[in-house]
């Protein structure tokens, strides 16, 4: 299946959960938050959140800023 992760196309096997994606995108999950199709998914829910073709995923963390 084909998703958008942080604005870029991303290929994943069918049936991958959010945790599966995050293992590659954010290996250190401390200080990381995730939005799936515009809604925040709390860390406790990542393993039970399946991803689907066409999903929009945002993975963010703190960055230097004003």
């Amino acid at each position: 299946m084909r998703l958008s992760v942080n604005g870029r196309p991303h290929e994943l096997p069918e049936g991958t959960a959010l945790t599966g994606l995050l293992e590659t995108v954010a290996p250190d999950p401390r200080g990381v938050a995730v939005a799936l199709n515009g809604s925040v998914v709390r860390a406790a829910e990542w393993p039970a959140t399946p991803l689907r073709d066409g999903d929009l995923v945002e993975v963010v963390t703190a960055h230097q800023g004003g």
Binding site: D28, R30, G38, V40, A62, G66
Partner: protein, 252 residues
């Protein structure tokens, strides 16, 4: 002492954008001893993860996420919710920008976003214009402080119109934090003399030739301005007023 939503804070707040290394972040924070440090929330693909937060946690400084660069209420609300999840804080510096050239706030979207976030349990500190009417609206929807700009973000032009800051100060009973426009220490002192409870500086420190020295200067300036405000400045006069006695002058 300054208190926001029941939390006591030192009156200098620090932005971290533009510092060249985490070691400089550490040295600047140690020099400034800020009440809190702001961070932005960005895609991991553009930042890497972990290290900035680890540095700040190691310094035992309060971290305030912002919604910098958000162009509408919906985007700002989602960014704030991501920040709450990532940083485990209900506090947010709410920025809703209406124009990418001036970076001035879109106050209509700002008030809407503030109301939504307060209803969802956030402590909202909005970056706003020097407008007492908007400031009052922000307080009415439940903001814990208001953060008027002195001049545009990163411009270093100081407080363009001191009357706007005084007007905001007079309009609200929550803390007023001067945010944006400070270029050097005297301008931070000026903000405090005008009645602000705190000053947020970012570019003025992070892009100074010597950020660590400027951080220390800002800390001293904020303290000086606060003392001067409490001490009470003399009124401005049209004419001179001699400070030495006029009587007893030689030859008169």
């Amino acid at each position: 002492m300054l208190e926001v939503a029941g939390v006591r804070l030192a009156p200098l707040w620090l932005g971290t954008g533009g510092l060249t290394s985490l070691e400089t972040v550490r040295r600047v924070v140690e020099a400034a001893r800020p009440g809190l440090v702001t961070v932005s929330v960005r895609r991991t693909s553009d930042t890497g993860t972990g290290s900035l937060l680890a540095t700040l946690r190691g310094l035992d400084v309060r971290v305030l996420p912002n919604t910098a660069g958000c162009l509408g209420a919906q985007e700002a609300v989602l960014t704030a919710e991501l920040a709450r999840e990532a940083l485990d804080t209900e506090w947010v510096k709410l920025e809703v920008i209406g124009d990418e050239l001036s970076l001035l706030p879109d106050v209509v979207e700002l008030v809407e976003a503030a109301e939504t976030l307060v209803a969802r349990g956030f402590t909202v500190l909005p970056y706003t214009t020097g407008d007492p009417v908007v400031a009052r609206r922000l307080v009415e929807v439940g903001c814990a402080a208001v953060m008027p700009l002195g001049s545009p973000i990163g411009s270093g032009r100081g407080i363009a119109d001191p009357h706007t800051i005084e007007a905001v100060r007079a309009a609200v009973d929550v803390p007023v934090v001067l945010d944006a426009g400070i270029g050097t220490a005297s301008e931070a002192a000026h903000a405090m003399e005008l009645g602000c409870d705190a000053v947020l500086v970012a570019t003025a420190v992070t892009r100074a030739e010597d950020p660590v020295a400027m951080a220390r200067a800002m800390s001293l300036a904020v303290e000086a301005g606060q003392l001067a405000r409490r001490a009470g400045r003399i009124p401005r006069r049209e004419t001179a007023r001699a400070s030495s006695p006029m009587r007893g002058r030689v030859g008169r």
